[in-house]
């Protein structure tokens, strides 16, 4: 060790050992296991949550079956059903799709296909990103003071109807539709547009006949995701006048102007009741809600993976 020669021999041996012998990296493996466990925690939570809800809901569906889905709300937990919630959620979905989809897509087309990079354009973009971050309950205030007031002044009862609720949710998810649609439009290669202009098509003709068909899967995926987000929202509906507790309604002539509720609102109402039986009802309503939202999400994820195009 004292001579230079022996030092270099030792060094050479060490380097050789370092390159040839692979010592086990214990710390690295521990680290990797910790990371993996953290990731699996989400999976476990998801499974526990689903198992918990299903086990609580099972007795309700086993005892009452289809009756639970077709009965109206009631203060008696053994008779209460969710038909008003299902109808309410379905109409809300239609209203949200009818409002958010065209407005969102048109905004996205303007920003991505038409707008020059001006101050106004950038302001609109920043504004949309900020709207996406506004808490949903604040949109409830907007719904209450704008849409409810609007429908009231139009003579539609007290204005707390499914149209006001649907408009509120549509505004809430509009930024999501815009942002996902922009991404879908941006994924269409510029060469496609240039080919269109090259044969003399106008901007609208290029957009409608070339860009939109190519971007449709992405736009639809984003819309379905936004829809499923809207259907799970509770707080804005409560503020904008969805009914908590039972009510009589659902007559066809007052479908759009009368009182309404939605599945997540029913879940909230029932989970805070003191009676234990309502907890089971709430779990059963959650199952119905999850079937709808998870189904929508699964469709969206499937569409995205199925039609994902690489140009």
């Amino acid at each position: 060790m004292s001579t230079i020669a022996s030092t270099s021999t030792v060094t050479a041996a060490r380097v050789r050992e370092g390159l040839v012998n692979s010592r086990r990296d214990t710390l690295g493996i521990v680290f990797q296991v910790i990371l993996l466990l953290s990731l699996l925690a989400s999976l476990v939570i998801l499974l526990v949550l689903l198992a918990d809800v299903l086990s609580k809901a099972f007795p309700v569906y086993a005892d009452r079956g289809i009756d639970f889905l077709t009965s109206p709300l009631s203060s008696n937990p053994d008779k209460a059903g969710i038909v008003q919630g299902i109808v309410g959620t379905a109409i809300l979905a239609l209203v949200v799709a009818a409002v958010a989809f065209p407005f969102g897509l048109m905004t996205a087309i303007y920003l991505e296909e038409y707008a020059a990079d001006t101050r106004l354009t950038r302001f609109i973009q920043v504004n949309i990103r900020n709207l996406a971050g506004v808490p949903s309950v604040v949109y409830g205030l907007l719904g209450l003071s704008v849409f409810v007031a609007l429908f009231q002044s139009l003579g539609m009862g007290n204005g707390r109807n499914v149209l006001a609720g649907g408009a509120t949710l549509a505004v809430l998810v509009l930024p999501i539709v815009v942002i996902t649609s922009i991404e879908a439009l941006r994924a269409v290669p510029i060469a496609i547009r240039e080919a269109g202009y090259g044969v003399g098509a106008s901007r609208w003709e290029v957009t409608r006949q070339l860009v939109l068909p190519a971007a449709t899967p992405g736009v639809l995926t984003g819309t379905v995701l936004a829809l499923s987000r809207a259907l799970g929202e509770t707080a804005p509906l409560i503020l904008a006048g969805a009914v908590l507790g039972s009510f009589s309604g659902l007559s066809i002539d007052r479908l759009f102007t009368g009182s309404y509720t939605a599945l997540p609102v029913i879940v909230y109402d029932w989970s805070r009741r003191p009676q234990e039986a309502f907890r089971a009802d709430a779990a059963a309503a959650i199952v119905a809600l999850l079937v709808i939202t998870l189904f929508a999400n699964a469709i969206a994820i499937y569409f995205r993976n199925r039609y994902e195009q690489t140009w």
Binding site: G28, S42, M106, I124, L131, L141, A235, Y268, L294, N297
Partner: protein, 309 residues
Amino acid sequence: MAQATPALPAGISLKGSSRRQRRERIVRGLFLGAALATIVISAFIIETVLVEAISFLSAIDLSRLTGIGWFPRRGIFDIATIVIGTLMVTVIAMLIATPIGLASAIYLSEYATPRARRAIKPVLELLASIPSVVIGFFALTLITPSVIKPLFAEANTFNMLAAGIGVGILTVPLVASVAEDAMRAVPMSLREASYGLGARKKTTSLRVVFPAAISGIVAALIIATSRAIGETMVVAVAAGAPQARTLNPLDPGGTMTSAMVQLATGSDQVTGNSAAFQSLFFIGLLLFAVTFLLNIVGDVFVRRTRQRY
């Protein structure tokens, strides 16, 4: 330029039909209108909360903004109660979402094979798509009785700890996906340089990739914090209603958001022009201002990552 343009033969115009041009203008105007509508939405939100909040503040005696707790129906609007509740729930949520979310992001970005990533990411997306009222139900009916009560016997059925854990579960996928994007944006050459110096995977991940992606990671945490502050239904279901001011997470309580829901529901339902009704908009204004600031800051951090490489 004008000189270089050859003269067109008479009778031929490149302007196209005027009908076609009119259609182009109409379509363009329509799309611009839709885009401008998003600004109108923002204007309406700000106008609504501002006007009602100002009339609330001018209608009540400002000393009512402090007191023993949040009792809007008795005219006691102790803002500190619901701000403390919000901070408590947000801190608990971030204590859960930060380690789990960041560890998930590191694994997905640095360790997972492409196949594993394709299998795991949809699971996170599904977790993110569960309605918050369902997470609230989960917190109330499973986390409180099976996790919190055995550990802390004195915990109330409605408590803010369960609400915080629920909000944390809700924000994990958000932290994971934004942080993962940031780490995947780190160029491969940095990792290769690190391996070239003999560093191991763990060292490369923690000492090279993580610091290089720090802007995006900070952005993920800021956006998640904003989301946690704005989360409503988990707290409204699992933590009951805001009452007397408390610092104990095992007590029932409420956040700014859940106080708004309580104001609009059940026994606390208020309508018309009462001070309690207008306090709804005052909280809304606070909430909007706080989340707006956080989102702006988060946005700056997100863009800083994009610009760097």
